[in-house]
């Protein structure tokens, strides 16, 4: 029927297709989670801009809804991402330790720290998961830093569109890919 080289070619084709399906599934799940966090971040930053005294409780609510929603999406998509969820819990704990426990970041610093922190993780993940993560992470980090240094009193409003809108658009684009 077939010889070794044909068998090897067939296995290579199988591996190629399997890898593309795996990447496609990752993008599919990630895109939904990004869009969720985009909407939540937009609401969070907008609330912080309009009603700064409710910022703390708003972000607690955003994080709770965000993590519950991300877990639900992963479950529905059969993504089996418990390790990713656990990794994020560890990262958040580390971030909280330094931003609030040790260094006492200002509200503006916190608004810039968290998205750049998460986007650093996205960028690292992109080295394995695909270039889309790297591009999205780079863009949001750059725009966050531009806003932090140059947007003056409009920073939270800037972040609503950069972080919130950026994640929403990025998720929509990734979904198409």
């Amino acid at each position: 029927m077939i010889d070794r080289s044909e068998a090897a070619a067939a296995l290579s084709d199988i591996a190629d297709i399997a890898e593309r399906v795996r990447q496609s599934r990752i993008y599919q799940v990630a895109s939904l989670i990004m869009m969720l966090w985009g909407v939540l971040a937009f609401c969070g930053y907008l609330t912080q801009y309009l009603r700064p005294r409710y910022a703390d409780i708003t972000w607690v609510a955003v994080d709770l809804v965000g993590f519950a929603g991300s877990a639900a999406i992963s479950f529905i998509q059969k993504a089996r991402a418990w390790r990713i969820g656990a990794a994020f819990i560890i990262l958040i704990a580390f971030g909280l330790l330094w931003t609030i426990g040790i260094a006492h970041f200002t509200p503006r610093q916190l608004s810039a720290f968290w998205p750049t922190y998460y986007m650093t993780v996205y960028a690292i993940a992109g080295l394995w998961l695909g270039p889309a993560f790297l591009v999205i992470a780079g863009a949001i980090m750059a725009l966050t830093l531009i806003g932090y240094f140059y947007s003056g009193p409009w920073f939270d409003l800037w972040m609503a569109f950069v972080n919130g809108g950026g994640l929403l658009l990025a998720g929509a684009w990734m979904r198409r890919e």
Partner: protein, 101 residues
């Protein structure tokens, strides 16, 4: 001894089975996505899916989503087993250095 499967081994059918077997159990793939992944034409893809369905390796479900027809193809347990066996047989051919016929 793993079974070399002539039905699966056709290049496009091999790609179809590879794509579908990568998904979790009972999760299928839309026809349009399968077409993009395999680079096949509508007619060609449809014909090969029908061959796989007749062999009992895939199931085809047609539905309407937002008034648009949508066809979803899912590997069956028999198809997953047959594909797994076929992959093992390919590896065996490479390992043994055997020439069949």
């Amino acid at each position: 001894m793993p079974q070399f499967d002539e039905v699966i081994h056709q290049p496009l059918r091999l790609r179809i089975m590879s794509a579908l077997s990568t998904l979790p159990d009972k999760q299928g793939m839309e026809f349009s996505r399968l077409k993009k992944l395999t680079g096949a034409t509508d007619g060609n893809l449809g014909a090969h899916i029908e061959t796989l369905a007749k062999a009992g390796y895939v199931s085809v479900e047609k539905a309407f989503v937002a008034k648009r027809p949508q066809t979803t193809v899912t590997v069956t347990p028999a198809g997953r087993t047959a594909f797994g066996e076929h992959v093992l047989s390919l590896r065996q051919i490479i390992d043994s250095g055997a020439q069949e016929n």
